[in-house]
């Protein structure tokens, strides 16, 4: 008999050795696939920070801080008179740790007036709250988890786990023979399956095996559990279990481990959980779907209270504590999707594209990276909140079909090109077609600033006050049909100062201007501003027949808003690896790509767009004192409605249109501009205070002619900026009649040259053969060669 047993044991022993190897390689060799976690920017608190009370409270709510009467535990806050008391959470950043602090914050007039240490009353220069986790990048098997080290697991959670799942955990050797016997008896006698699995067995089951429930698998599971228990510390096995266990479903995403479940269900780090919350989570293990507190709150409550009863019964907590805990509501937060796209799918999309350039997909889903982005949740939320409302209003007002208008928007900072918010469509938080990144649309008049900027780089010919001709223009290229773009209002406006031609977005004047400076040079300017495509330099480009995504347009306007320094738009600041190791930084870079003086002049003209042009609506919608600059854009048949504008702290681009490219029925100013205003108003932008470059001087000019103001004639002059050395050199004439004749060259000036009146002929036509068009200009020779320019001149 003994021999027989021994003979049977030899193959079993060999088998176990095999299993042991398997476990060793699996348990140790298999690194946890730890999904990358993505964070927003963190809120900086300091005296003078532009953070209103509403904004601060919203941030705290997002971060899952609890409002209490006395904030004496981590992650709580209270309002006390005009003060906001806050017990912040510690957090490890790229550049060091931010400790837990007790803060006393005062907010007044929409900004923080002081930040003090609550205990000492000592002023604190600067505090950073932890960033908001906005998503994770998990692998194809959809398992998402936040890894906890054994020390991170609260004692109460360990006790509850053991009490509920495996009371003899610390005593058995991986399996619990008594438990198995009990389960076997129950299965045989009562015909009911009952679990006799230890925590170790459950882990093995989850970790190594398929979920088949037959004897062979059970035996293998038991053997592996024994081996696992023999080889590893109880604490480590328990931690592995706490990280492995499946606790819920979020769409495709599987919620694994208590670390993630705590955030998923309660919106707080695991260290801040109370006993009732722990009981709820541990209760979930048995059947995560049946006891899902969001879908089946009644079941969940029953289960939680049962767990609490058992805890009291076993003496883990007192009867009194159990009673109090049982009286509490479930305390589950509204589901915030933090998965693949998370709450900010459009922004996450941008982050992932940027990451994909530098990382392999496996790195992102398994290396436990922490990615710090530039998203400002407040800006994003404010923008989202106002977009849909306005779209619905527009549809109603204009009698447009409901639900067809789509929208895209991007908000960035002007000086360092950080992307604060991305709106990919009218449905916020919906991970569909990301129009902000992927909708390539004609940009219409948004291209015009590039035309005018090209001209203004030619100070010998063009200044803001230069008179342009806005009469009918016909372009005919050899062999093709003629093209005669008209103005939006189908009127000719005769002589208009350059500044007004941009402000009112006159097409005829712009085409003339663009043809004169050369379409190829306009393309060059577009490239300098940040356009990446290579459009054909056709005249139609001057009116925006060029396709771009809202993102690309934002890059162009960022360059303008920063005074000519292009900063490649960034959504990521830093990437940290495991153990808080800094891996990669995406530093701030800037590059001057267009000269300061002309950009300044352009920005002034773009302010006129708001004060006197197509965007006057902003004057009533937002405070006049903001001095906003911007440009509307409309494409043929009202297919696309654009507005791009900036303050000193935001560059914002909005597109409104339809996915099927049918007419949307909105111009730039009746559509996108309204959305822009709604989005920006609650953000309380700072006034645009343009830095005047050293290359700028001012002169009083006669607004009608663009010549120097002549006090003899009476009337009022206006002060206009010019590039130094290029102010007008001729006084205005008092007789105004002749001004009716088109004269594009009047007001343009050349340094050191004062050629009297001979530069215009008697009909008021420009003299192209003379020197009036600044023959030093590099583009001027091209002008006569490109055919189109020749034609253009012939029509004068």
């Amino acid at each position: 008999m003994l021999i027989l047993l021994f003979i049977a044991a030899v193959p079993l022993g060999t088998y176990m050795m095999q299993l042991s190897d398997e476990i060793t390689t699996s348990f140790e060799g298999r690194r946890w696939a730890v999904p990358a976690r993505v964070y927003s920017r963190s809120m900086e608190l300091y005296a003078g920070a532009p953070v209103s009370r509403e904004r601060l409270v919203s941030e705290l709510e997002y971060l899952g801080y609890r409002k209490v009467s006395q904030p004496d535990t981590t992650g709580t806050w209270a309002m006390n008179g005009g003060r906001l008391l806050l017990r912040s959470r510690p957090f490890i950043f790229w550049d060091g740790a931010e400790p837990e602090q007790s803060l006393d914050i005062r907010v007044a007039n929409g900004e923080i007036s002081s930040v003090m240490d609550h205990a000492s009353g000592k002023e604190i220069d600067l505090v950073r709250l932890e960033p908001l986790e906005i998503g994770s990048i998990y692998p194809r098997d959809n398992e998402d988890r936040v890894i906890l080290a054994p020390d991170d697991i609260p004692e109460m959670l360990k006790k509850t786990l053991i009490t509920i799942e495996d009371r003899s955990y610390y005593d058995h050797f991986g399996i619990d023979p008594r438990g198995i016997t009990r389960a076997a008896v129950s299965t045989l006698v009562k015909g009911r399956r009952e679990g006799g699995s230890t925590i170790t067995q459950q882990l093995v089951k989850n970790y190594f095996l398929t979920p088949r429930r037959d004897l062979k698998r059970k035996s293998k599971e038991a053997l592996m559990a024994i081996i696992l228990d023999a080889k590893y510390e109880k604490e480590d096995i328990l931690a592995a279990y706490a990280n492995e266990i499946y606790l819920g479903q979020d769409g495709n995403r599987e919620i694994h481990g208590f670390g993630l479940a705590s955030e998923f269900f309660f919106g707080v780090p695991i260290a801040e959980l109370e006993i009732d919350q722990i009981a709820l989570m541990v209760g979930l293990i048995k059947a995560p779907s049946t006891y899902n507190p969001r879908r089946n709150p009644k079941n969940a409550l029953k289960r939680r209270n049962l767990v609490l009863d058992v805890l009291a019964q076993q003496g883990v907590i007192s009867e009194g504590a159990a009673g109090v805990a049982k009286g509490k509501p479930l305390g589950v937060v509204k589901k915030k999707p933090t998965g693949q796209g998370g709450r900010y799918p459009a922004f996450m999309d941008l982050v992932k594209r940027q990451l994909r350039r530098d990382y392999q997909p496996e790195d992102l889903t398994s290396e436990g990276l922490r990615i710090f982005t530039t998203l400002d949740p407040w800006v994003q939320k404010t923008a989202e909140n106002n977009v849909l409302k306005r779209l619905q209003q527009l549809e109603k007002q204009k009698g447009l079909p409901k639900g067809k208008l789509e929208v895209a928007s991007i908000i960035v900072t002007p000086q360092d090109g950080e992307v604060l918010a991305v709106i990919g469509g009218r449905k916020a938080g919906y991970a569909g077609f990301n129009r902000a990144l992927d909708a390539t649309r004609q940009i219409g008049s948004l291209v015009k600033p590039a035309v005018y900027l090209t001209a203004l780089q030619d100070p010998g010919s063009y200044a803001l006050s230069t008179i342009l001709d806005d009469s009918k223009v016909v372009l005919r290229n050899r062999g093709s049909k003629s093209w005669s773009p008209s103005n939006y209002d189908h009127k000719d406006h005769g002589n208009v100062p350059l500044e007004m031609a941009l402000a009112k977005s006159y097409n005829q004047a712009t085409v003339r201007l663009g043809m004169d400076v050369g379409v190829d040079r306009v393309v060059k300017t577009l490239h300098a501003l940040g356009m990446s495509s290579e459009p054909d330099p056709l005249p139609s480009l001057l009116l925006g027949a060029v396709n771009m995504t809202p993102l690309e347009v934002t890059q162009l306007y960022q360059t303008i808003a920063s005074g000519g320094y292009r900063s490649p738009l960034r959504a990521i600041r830093e990437v940290m690896g495991p153990e808080d190791k800094a891996l990669k930084r995406y530093p701030l870079t800037i590059k001057r790509t267009v000269p300061a003086g002309p950009v300044y002049l352009l920005s002034r003209a773009m302010q006129s767009v708001v004060t006197r042009g197509t965007s006057r609506y902003l004057l009533s919608a937002l405070p006049k004192s903001l001095n906003l600059a911007g440009k509307t854009g409309t494409t043929d048949n009202l297919r696309d409605s654009w507005f791009a504008g900036f303050s000193s702290d935001y560059v914002t681009v909005v597109w409104v249109g339809r996915d099927d490219n049918k007419p949307a029925g909105l111009s730039g100013s009746s559509g996108a501009l309204r959305v822009w205003a709604d989005m920006m108003k609650p953000l309380m932008p700072s006034p645009l205070d343009l830095v005047v470059p050293g290359t700028i001087e001012t002169a009083m000019v006669d607004p009608g002619s663009g010549m120097l103001f002549n006090p003899v004639c009476g009337g009022n002059g206006v002060e206009k900026p010019f590039l130094r050395g290029y102010t007008p050199y001729e006084d205005a004439y008092c007789d105004s009649d002749y001004l009716l004749a088109p004269d594009p060259s009047r007001g343009a000036s050349r340094q050191g040259e004062r050629p009297g009146r001979g530069y215009r002929d008697n009909d008021g036509h420009p003299d192209f053969n003379g020197d009036s068009w600044d023959n030093k200009k590099p583009g001027s020779s091209k002008k006569s060669n490109d055919g189109l320019g020749g034609f253009l001149r012939s029509i004068f």
Binding site: D125, Y232, E367, E574, R592
Partner: protein
């Protein structure tokens, strides 16, 4: 059944103690074993050159490179001190190891809030300790708080120059000067940075 298990266990224990290839019990569970550092470099199908650091290759900072101290180290000009005038005369382009004092707000023509000031101080001590990447990161954080403060851009230029990122140093210094208003001392210092960045090494 029970006997079998005990026997198997016995055999297993023998195997554990007898075999040399088994791993000792002290080894921690894989929970704390983290992956190696993630390498950069792979290019992808991303066709959006406007996003991200265009000059990523050039300025993209992996820590390893970041801490390399460039030869320019000893040539970085001093930032203006309390009195720009005296600083100009004593501007001897001293060793980079020496620290430069923060120019008083009276001198820069731009006042600086306490928050930005605390970061400026931090950046200076980081720079002093040779943590140039840290200094740059801290200064960028300060720039987010005060994007138009010329001194911050100047310091950023200074750090970039020390790192050998000459092109970027020139851009930052120019930007600083544009925000500098009438602060001639600061502008002068920016000129020096630009000069140095442009001079052949």
């Amino acid at each position: 059944m029970k006997i079998l298990i005990v026997l198997a266990l016995l055999l297993f224990v023998i195997q554990l103690t007898g075999c040399t290839n088994s791993t000792p019990r002290v080894k921690p569970a894989p929970v704390y074993q983290h992956g190696e550092r993630v390498g950069g470099g792979s290019t992808s199908a991303l066709e959006m050159p406007e996003i991200g650091t265009e000059e990523g290759g050039e300025y993209g900072e992996e820590q390893g490179e970041e801490y390399r101290v460039s030869e320019l180290d000893s040539e970085v000009p001093q930032a203006p001190t309390e009195s720009p005038v005296t600083d100009l005369s004593s501007n001897s382009l001293r060793g980079g190891g020496e620290q430069v004092a923060y120019a008083g707000s009276a001198g820069t023509g731009a006042s600086m809030g306490k928050a930005a000031k605390s970061l400026l101080d931090k950046a200076e001590s980081q720079q002093q300790a040779g943590d140039l990447s840290g200094a740059a990161s801290t200064l960028e954080r300060a720039v987010r708080i005060e994007p138009r403060n010329p001194l911050l851009w100047n310091r950023l230029a200074n750090v970039r120059l020390q790192q050998g990122h000459s092109d970027l140093a020139v851009e930052f210094a120019s930007k600083s000067s544009e925000f500098a208003g009438s602060d001639e001392g600061l502008k002068q210092n920016n000129f020096q940075i630009i000069d140095m960045a442009n001079s052949p090494r």
